[in-house]
């Protein structure tokens, strides 16, 4: 009776696969057309001179905006597919019974792939410590999850290349591990709000089985959500970046953002705190600044500070952490970011 081709679920599946193939082909075609099209518009259609300030700035803008938006949609889709295999529930199960050290490393790695929103930081924190996961390991997760941000990874990859994107992931991991181990060593359990310890440990929602079509649908939903949230910042950031690219002279920033200026790393960290969640708008500007002499360590420290030291998350966490622990949390993360910044300035 079950004719597989007329079965509605099967039909739906075929339709999604066909659609996916079509979108992939269109994606690659569009990606390869950006450069010639940007050049054509700027130099032929608008009659701008190659090498002029305005011509370069406009060609840069017309090339980078579609490129970054395409990269964002494509890579967020792939990352979201990967994330459908992980959930906070599974992460908690994987971390259960792990000791300090190995637990911190695992928690930081899981922080990259587990879907996480800072608005869920409190239930997650309570759920983790309630099930017996050490405080330091819980913090490693809570630091890695927002710090190693998928939008930032994609934009660093698109504007700086895979090496810088890799360094960013690596330094995020190091910061989360170091800060988590430090917090664990300090034995700060008494600075967790008392009601947290009085809560009943709960089991967690049973995991549902997902078909590939479900995973694709969910990934598509999160692409719409994430790209819908950041595209305006991307365009604004690239516009400012294009202006800097075209008009600011080379080496203009060596003095204030170069390796020799020792204070540039802490200053970059301070500057990054109020810019929370605007990684999308900040990275194109930073990329243009680097061309003009800012050093990589300083730039990475700034990036980490923008995504990792977030005011909203800190305010949310205040519900479960006493002020002393909040201070230690911010202090260790800031310190770890500054050390990483100097480290990269030193070795690169």
């Amino acid at each position: 009776m079950d004719n597989s081709l007329t079965h509605p679920a099967k039909q739906n599946q075929l339709r999604i696969i066909a659609l996916l193939a079509l979108i992939t082909a269109a994606w690659f075609a569009a990606y390869n057309l950006i450069q010639p099209l940007a050049d054509w518009i700027s130099y032929s259609a608008l009659h701008l001179t190659k090498g002029s300030h305005l011509g370069d700035a406009i060609a840069f803008f017309l090339y980078d905006v579609p490129k970054i938006l395409l990269l964002l949609s494509g890579m967020i889709f792939l990352i979201s597919i990967l994330r459908t295999f992980f959930s906070p529930e599974r992460t908690r199960a994987l971390l259960g019974g792990k000791r300090q050290g190995i637990g911190n490393v695992l928690a930081s790695l899981l922080g990259i792939v587990t879907p996480f929103c800072s608005c869920s930081a409190v239930p997650l924190f309570i759920g983790f410590v309630e099930s017996g996961i050490p405080l330091g390991v819980t913090f490693s997760f809570l630091i890695a999850a927002p710090t190693i941000n998928e939008v930032a990874i994609v934009m660093l990859f698109g504007l700086f290349g895979w090496k810088v994107a890799g360094l960013y992931i690596l330094s995020g991991l190091i910061i989360a591990i170091i800060a988590g181990v430090l917090i664990g060593r300090l034995k700060l359990e008494r600075y967790v709000e008392d009601f947290v310890w009085q809560m009943q440990s709960t089991g967690g929602l049973q995991e549902e089985k997902l078909a590939w079509t479900n995973r694709i649908e969910r990934a598509w939903e999160s692409v719409k959500e994430i790209v819908g949230k950041v595209w305006l910042y991307v365009i604004a950031g690239i516009a400012v970046g294009a202006g800097i690219h075209g008009y600011v002279p080379e080496t203009a920033l060596v003095g204030i953002m170069g390796k020799q200026a020792w204070w540039s790393v802490p200053a970059a960290v301070l500057l990054g705190v109020p810019l929370y969640s605007n990684a999308a708008g900040v990275i194109p500007i930073v990329s243009a600044l680097m061309e003009k002499g800012a050093s990589l360590g300083t730039v990475l420290a700034f990036m980490m500070s923008v995504v990792g030291l977030s005011l909203p998350e800190t305010i949310i966490l205040r519900r479960v952490l006493k002020p002393q622990l909040i201070t230690v949390f911010i202090g260790t993360v800031a310190l770890a970011i500054i050390i990483t910044g100097y480290l990269f300035n030193l070795v690169l």
């Binding site: 906070p88 929103c117 608005c119 309570i126 967690g204």
Partner: protein
């Protein structure tokens, strides 16, 4: 009469989830009372690790994401 609770402290997704659940309830033409739970001590009485959460008649059916309308429909019919 169904009792529906939306767990989460005012994030954008909580509002979207509530709007969606209200729409499904309207479409199905069933009676339901809605309750927004924003207090963490209350939220944590359910086995939840990430918000928004959807509770139907005291049973947590979804957490950490926005389900599809079809899924909400299935849960409401149970």
């Amino acid at each position: 009469m169904k009792n529906i609770k939306i767990l989460g402290s005012g994030c954008a997704n909580c509002k979207r989830l509530e709007a969606m659940a209200r729409k499904v309830v309207g479409d199905l033409g069933i009676e339901a009372e809605f309750e927004k739970v924003t207090d963490y001590a209350e939220i944590m009485k359910y086995p939840i690790l990430s918000t928004p959460g959807l509770v139907i008649n005291e049973k947590l059916v979804s957490a950490g994401r926005i389900p599809t309308e079809e899924q909400i429909e299935t849960w409401l019919k149970e």
